[in-house]
């Protein structure tokens, strides 16, 4: 198939390993994603808050050194950096707000454009299967969400551990695991939900509205059920509340942000993921179903 020879020839060169094949999908997706200045601007904004927090932690531990006036108290005794701090200042703003906005921007177009243009047979006729296709598409979101959620969170944890010392690190080791696991669970739920909606709704604007609606409408509906029937189980419909409850559990806190048992929050999130996977399984067919 040489350009000048104009003849077909086969390929007998090296091949990439199967295990990394799915990463081709996010690599190509990022080229389009980063072509958008709005997105790049948004991503930069997402780092301002963690940077500010980093500066805050630095200042907290070095106030005596950097203050122009003498400090007579220990600021680390006034402001305690613990699970509570990470939940409200890192996990909620970075995970729930920034993460959700990022998913809202990228998620809805991930699968819908492939379905609209009948591109699935092109992917699946190659040595990748549906699971790898989904993993590839999830990776598009998961890698970006990681960049603004658990990676800055763990960097802040590391900074705090560096300044607070060994004792703090030993006492709060659980926090690192909770930040990592909790934010990964959120990334997984958010990515799956985005993909499922993208597979269901092929029009991008409508898919964005649907993703937004899934987080707002069931929550409001659940709250109405709670008020009308005097129960707490309506909160099972509030996805944000569910993940907050799971985070509380992982961090060992008990704020009762959502008045449902921890096991119920886990079960609801698992059910939600199961439903999303079922939708993807049903919708991602490399052929048209003629009824």
């Amino acid at each position: 198939m040489a350009v000048y020879e104009q003849g077909y020839r086969g390929y007998d060169g090296p091949l990439m390993p199967d295990c990394s094949r799915f990463l081709v999908i996010p690599r190509y997706a990022y080229k389009s994603v980063f072509a958008s200045r709005v997105f790049v601007g948004f991503l930069v904004l997402c780092y301002l808050w963690p940077l500010g927090l980093g500066a805050f932690i630095y200042g907290l531990h070095n106030l005596a050194r950097i203050s122009p006036v003498p400090i007579t108290f220990d600021p680390t005794e006034q402001i305690v950096i613990d699970g509570d701090f990470f939940l409200w200042t890192v996990m909620f703003p970075q995970g729930i707000i920034a993460g959700f906005l990022l998913a809202l921007h990228i998620g809805p177009a991930l699968i819908s454009s492939d379905l609209t243009n009948n591109a699935l047979p092109l992917y699946l006729a190659r040595p990748i299967n549906r699971a790898e296709y989904v993993i590839g598409k999830i990776s598009v979101l998961a890698i970006l969400l990681s960049l603004i959620t658990w990676i800055p969170a763990l960097l802040l944890f590391t900074e705090q551990a560096y300044y607070a010392g060994w004792d703090w690190l030993v006492q709060n080791m659980r926090l690192a695991g909770a930040l990592f696991v909790g934010l990964w669970i959120w990334i997984f739920v958010l990515s799956l939900l985005s993909l499922a909606i993208s597979a269901l709704v092929r029009w991008k604007v409508l898919a964005r509205a649907a993703l937004f609606g899934v987080f707002i409408i069931p929550g409001a509906f659940g709250e109405t059920i709670n008020v009308l029937f005097g129960t707490v189980w309506g909160s099972l419909l509030d996805i944000g509340g569910l993940i907050a409850r799971v985070w509380e559990g992982l961090l060992g806190l008990d704020f009762d942000t959502t008045p449902i048992p921890l096991w119920a929050a886990w079960a609801s999130l698992l059910t939600l993921c199961g439903v999303c996977l079922l939708i993807l399984r049903r919708k991602l067919q490399p052929y048209e179903v003629v009824r």
């Binding site: 199967d18 243009n117 006729a125």
Partner: protein, 310 residues
């Protein structure tokens, strides 16, 4: 013995309990295989099943020796597929699209880019390769689909209705490309079409499907050679008695629906023997023509069979 390109072993596919492919068994060994059949015969379903898109409800199949269930990934590694419907990835230039497909097939990025350019030049999209696919005409998109199907150098190329919807110049170009690819040593072709002319121009072997069953399977060249003395007669008079008389001479003879007599003359007989016989039987021969049993004849014969194979 040559390894079959495709081996169907009692392959059955059902959709919602309805059988679409019914116990197909065949060994296809040709370099270029035509998959013929009317719409709804199961051609695309067969290709999809071989690609692993549909699970078989019974039986199995092997593609280049790889079982489509147990070693589907290995089989797909060797396959290039050009789907029937419009298929592309939006927002991409032709180069990015074909390169993505090459990398998904396992080619490293550098080799993928190199072969992408080659493939796009090869199919005739060299000048348009940096244009977005959405801006391509239908014919150009078909060419882009062909480029993505061959970019990774497959050993077996499935072409599902590649000339569908193309205008005559694009169709001719597509047929030329397919014939060109067929010449390469290391590739087999399966061309699915309901257009007999496409199959006749590009294929050596033909598998005719009808209502999910194999209605006929033959080698076109052998068929042509076997029927080189095929003669068609248009007569006036008792053509049935005349046909019996021809048979008594030792010829194979048949009367078609248009009451024309088709006969194959053995070497010892000549055309003048037929005229002599017609004279004896008081039958007028109005027209006599030498014909080959065309693919159309084979196809129509297959379609006429209520069940079973030709």
């Amino acid at each position: 013995m040559t390894q079959p390109v495709i081996e169907l072993d009692g392959l059955e596919v059902r959709f919602s309990g309805r059988p679409i492919l019914k116990k197909l068994s065949a060994k296809l060994t040709g370099r270029s295989i035509g998959l013929l059949g009317p719409n709804g015969a199961g051609k695309t379903t067969l290709i999809h099943t071989l690609l692993g898109f549909h699970p078989a409800s019974a039986g199995t199949a092997r593609v280049l020796g790889h079982d489509i269930h147990e070693r589907s990934r290995e089989a797909r590694r060797l396959i290039g597929y050009m789907p029937e419907n419009e298929s592309f990835i939006a927002g991409m230039t032709a180069v990015r699209f074909v390169r993505l497909m090459a990398e998904l097939s396992g080619l490293p990025a550098k080799q993928a880019l190199e072969r992408t350019h080659e493939a796009l030049f090869y199919v005739g999209l060299g000048e348009a390769r940096y244009r977005r696919l959405e801006t391509f005409s239908f014919g150009m998109r078909q060419q882009a689909k062909l480029a993505q199907a061959i970019v990774h150098g497959p050993q077996l190329l499935f072409l599902d209705e590649p000339t569908n919807g193309l205008d005559p110049p694009h169709r001719q170009r597509m047929i030329e490309l397919i014939r060109e690819i067929r010449k390469a040593d290391d590739i087999h072709l399966v061309l699915s079409s309901h257009l007999l002319r496409d199959v006749e121009e590009c294929c050596d072997d033909v598998l005719i499907l009808k209502e999910g069953k194999i209605a006929a399977s033959c080698n076109l060249e052998q068929e042509r050679r076997a029927n080189k003395k095929f003669i068609e007669l248009e007569t006036v008079g008792d053509h049935e008695a005349f046909a019996r008389a021809i048979e008594q001479l030792g010829c194979q003879c048949a009367i078609d629906r248009r009451r024309r007599i088709k006969t194959v003359l053995p070497d010892r007989l000549e055309v003048k023997d037929l005229y002599r016989l017609a004279n004896e039987r008081q039958v007028q021969i109005r027209r006599l023509s030498f014909k080959r049993d065309s693919l159309e004849d084979i196809f129509l014969k297959a379609m006429e069979q209520p069940h079973g194979r030709v």
